[in-house]
Symmetry: C2
Subunit: 325 residues, 2 copies
């Protein structure tokens, strides 16, 4: 493939031009890509912003994920943080660094993944700016923005004793997909390809975040590092203990049971410790009407000796640390 | 130094905690670092956003720039894009990827550079969120935000025939500093350390961007890739020709003449082709009162055979391409 067009043979301007041509434009952009900066509407006089980065070899492998998958995942992991504030995702800026020999077709597929994830997960949201740099390994850094539409942001610190703890979205599916890929068990990978697909292209329940804010959620976060670790974050920020009822995790475990058996691991570990489903964990006052996407999994107790209990047992904070050795 | 604390020995949470503790908080933040996302005020119902990335080995060298320098430069290169829209910088999100063996003292110095650059270049602006990832080479990606305070954004496309072309800030100083470093001529590097300092820690005229917008600038951009290349961007976007008067560049050249002679190169090349001063290039109607920071360097002509003329000669588009081989 020595004749394939690469990022370095085309240069930054032409590579960006081809990429931008494949993107959708944010409905919220007053000025889109192409100037020093973009200008985005924020009608209630505030905007939400978050950033997340993915690094080749640490957060993804090119033999497991296509350019399209990575574009999708970059959007999903960022807009889920916006939704976890109760905001509507409006605009993204995307920085990509890649080796000069990277084929332009990879970058184009990445752009297609960005576009489709915006259209499907967060309609109206689009890429409004970006940057392309040369590097030895692929690095993808996104900043995502959202509009609170006049609502107060839903923080991690608002959980109240007596609240219901609830989850929107799946638990452990991405971890199951990753474990299947790591097992290199081709039969299992192909039998449970839906789980592998969740790892490659997570499907966070963006609308549920907005619905939770409207329903009066007292706290909320994006489950990026696993239920145990992320529940502890709400517990510490709110100075409470979160008690999860193990019976309410059975439904999440049941759908993973077969795949877990195929590669001889425990589905319960995936559900409790697995990150990157980008589901939402929220608390609601006991008299709130939960949005349909949310399933109750526990209750908020006064702060005890552990931030998180599974039944009556303290739950160790397991989960993903992006830099810990 | 095997006992030095590193990013991987501390882990992401502790490393981020130490870093965030050194930062100033944005005056515009309703919700700062620590939740899924930050919430920033944007009183006129719009915000400006831009992103820029720096990669070790491509955009900087660790033997030439300290962590402090890189924090400073990451702020400078981004807030100058905000200022080039005529906006006041309000908030930054910063993604850093670094090898696990990176000492925490490097990251702390980086945070100090972020803080000081915000305080000095863009008072009131601060870091409101970030991300720390593991990688083989250091990557720094910033998204910067700004407030237009009710003004219209100053685009690249608004230059009118008859307008005055003007520059705020220096030309060629960063390129001179880089050339000195590349020369490895220790005497010259130490004799002209102020130029090397401009390369390491650029000093963009942020306030001048806002003053230009107030004075009615018809177009503006941040000079990140050099006068020739960036003037061509305004010319093409505005469908005009920009004619630069070489006599008006003499002052910019004169201050670089000695350094150029010391390493036997041409100061005129630095002034015309050198990037990363992050000065501002703008056009103003002939009856506008130019803000004090701006020096006239040319005029806007009807579109001719070249986007940019130096005197009567077409100026080739030289400059920096971040990925071209």
């Amino acid at each position: 493939m020595s004749t394939a067009e690469t990022i370095s043979s085309l240069g930054e301007n032409e590579s960006l031009k081809r990429t931008i041509a494949r993107l959708n434009i944010s409905e919220h952009a007053v000025v889109g890509p192409g100037d020093d900066a973009a200008v985005i509407n924020s009608p209630d006089g505030r905007f939400v912003v978050t950033t997340d980065t993915m690094i080749e070899g640490h957060d993804f492998r090119l033999d497991w994920s296509t350019g399209y998958d990575l574009g999708w995942k970059a959007v999903a992991s960022n807009v889920s943080d916006v939704a976890a504030m109760g905001a509507v995702p409006t605009a993204l800026v995307v920085a990509v660094a890649a080796p000069g020999h990277t084929e332009i077709s990879w970058l184009e597929a990445f752009a297609d993944g960005l576009r489709d994830a915006c259209n499907i997960l967060a309609p109206g949201c689009g890429v409004v700016g970006g940057d392309l740099a040369a590097s030895e390994q692929i690095m993808i850094s996104v900043a995502a923005h959202g509009s609170l539409e006049g609502r107060e942001p839903v923080l991690r610190s608002g959980a109240q004793v007596g609240d219901i703890v609830a989850v929107a979205g799946t638990l452990g599916r991405s971890a199951a997909g990753l474990a299947l890929l790591l097992s290199e068990n081709r039969d299992a990978i192909s039998a449970y390809d839906a789980l592998v697909d969740t790892h490659r292209r997570p499907n966070p329940p963006i609308r549920a975040g907005i619905d939770a804010a409207i329903a009066g959620a007292t706290s909320m976060l994006d489950l990026s590092d696993g239920l145990a670790r992320d529940a502890a974050r709400i517990a510490k920020a709110s100075e409470v203990t979160i008690q999860i009822d193990p019976r309410h995790l059975q439904g999440f475990e049941a759908v993973l049971e077969e795949a877990a058996r195929a590669i001889d691991v425990s589905e319960a570990e995936w559900v409790i410790g697995g990150g990157e489903d980008h589901s939402l964990l929220a608390t609601f006052s006991p008299d709130a009407v939960l949005p349909r996407a949310f399933k109750p999994i526990g209750v908020v107790l006064p702060a005890g000796q552990a931030p998180v209990l599974l039944g009556l047992q303290a739950l160790p904070e397991k989960g993903w640390d992006s830099v810990k050795s």
